[in-house]
């Protein structure tokens, strides 16, 4: 990986991370602009395939930037892109965490924390819905998603059971 690409990764993803309010995936269009349109590192189809792979794999969704880095600079590119995307905002979150500890119990902080709870839960539901729209390619997949929803909602068994079942159903019917 050349020094030029190293700095392009650092500056490109570092800048994107600072505007990624709401989560790493919120800035996917920005990432597309950076890696496909500005630098021409990969085609549209490559971009979509990398994104699909990161979605299918476990782990934070934002790790897709690691795959973009991998594409242009191998292991070193992967590490560079991931750190550029996560380190600046991590320092910010850490500073905020300290402030939060210091201000713990203040009425307005408690109000703010509680007020953000429905947004957090609503966005989890929204991401589930978006995932489901992408995966519901036929009635088998849709029924699988619906059963998995009810299972996780109404029981306390590990969700790994439904993922295992999903793998088997996929193998048999999809």
């Amino acid at each position: 990986m050349s020094a030029v690409i190293f700095w392009q990764l650092v500056l490109g993803f570092g800048a994107i991370s600072l505007v990624s309010v709401g989560g790493g995936i919120a800035v996917l269009p920005e990432m597309h602009r950076l890696v496909v349109e500005v630098h021409g590192w990969m085609s549209d189809a490559d971009f979509a395939r990398r994104f699909a792979l990161a979605q299918a794999a476990p782990g934070p969704n934002v790790l897709v930037v690691g795959l973009f880095g991998w594409h242009v600079g191998g292991v070193l590119g992967m590490l560079t892109a991931t750190l550029a995307m996560t380190l600046p905002t991590s320092l910010l979150a850490f500073g905020f965490s300290r402030l939060r500890t210091r201000l713990a119990g203040r009425f307005w902080l408690r109000v703010t924390e509680r007020g953000l709870v429905p947004i957090a839960v609503g966005l989890i539901a929204a991401s589930g819905l978006i995932l489901a729209q992408g995966t519901a390619t036929g009635w088998v997949a849709a029924v699988l998603t619906a059963c998995s929803t009810v299972f996780v909602w109404r029981t306390d068994y590990s969700p790994l059971w439904v993922l295992g079942a999903g793998a088997l159903v996929g193998l048999a019917f999809l």
Binding site: P60, T86, L92, V117, L123
Partner: protein, 186 residues
């Protein structure tokens, strides 16, 4: 609140590291639903309310929200060391896995069996994420005003695809107003 009153265990630093490593590696469909499952239900380090509050703050700050939440959870239990251990483990495991997958996928990604299994797992993971949101809502039991804010967040981000910064920052004042009225009424 609505949670059971039994004292909550405090993790050691090693616990924190290993647990977040596990969350990262089983985190299909995104981290948040799994972090809640492990931290609230399995380990009982946090209540549903505490987890949702931490995640909510993580969403308002820039950066991946699961990462921001991991930093705050790590800091809460073990200060700076915890704030490094939790997100480090959460990213480290999946990153190694992803490097392997990237190589595997380049070689076998077009094989139909691999695609079928991935499609099945992805469909189940989508349901897991939806089920988690339903479960959290049921446990937290938000007052009607906050429930409405949550539903608007779901519609805005999930149906109308409003960019997340607008959804988060646009709804935050309404959520805070709702929480203020609910807390003041007590």
């Amino acid at each position: 609140m609505t949670e059971d009153p039994a004292p909550r265990p405090v993790p050691t630093l090693i616990d924190l590291f290993l647990t977040y490593g596990r969350i990262g590696l089983i985190g299909f469909g995104g981290i948040n639903a799994w972090a809640r499952r492990v931290l609230v239900e399995e380990k009982r380090w946090l209540t549903d309310q505490e987890y949702a509050e931490t995640l909510g703050l993580g969403q308002v700050l820039p950066g991946p929200n699961a990462l921001n939440a991991a930093i705050m959870v790590g800091d809460r239990f073990h200060g700076t060391a915890g704030a490094i251990a939790a997100p480090g483990a959460m990213f480290g495991g999946p990153l190694i896995l992803l490097a392997g997958l990237a190589m595997f996928y380049d070689a076998y990604g077009e094989v139909p069996v691999v695609q079928a299994v991935l499609a099945g797992v992805a469909a189940a993971a989508a349901g897991m994420v939806l089920g988690t949101a339903a479960k959290m809502t049921q446990k937290i039991r938000p007052p009607p005003a906050l429930l409405a804010v949550g539903l608007v967040a779901l519609l805005a981000a999930g149906v109308f695809r409003v960019p997340l910064p607008y959804t988060v920052l646009g709804l935050a004042p309404f959520g805070i107003l709702g929480a203020w009225r609910a807390l003041r009424a007590k």
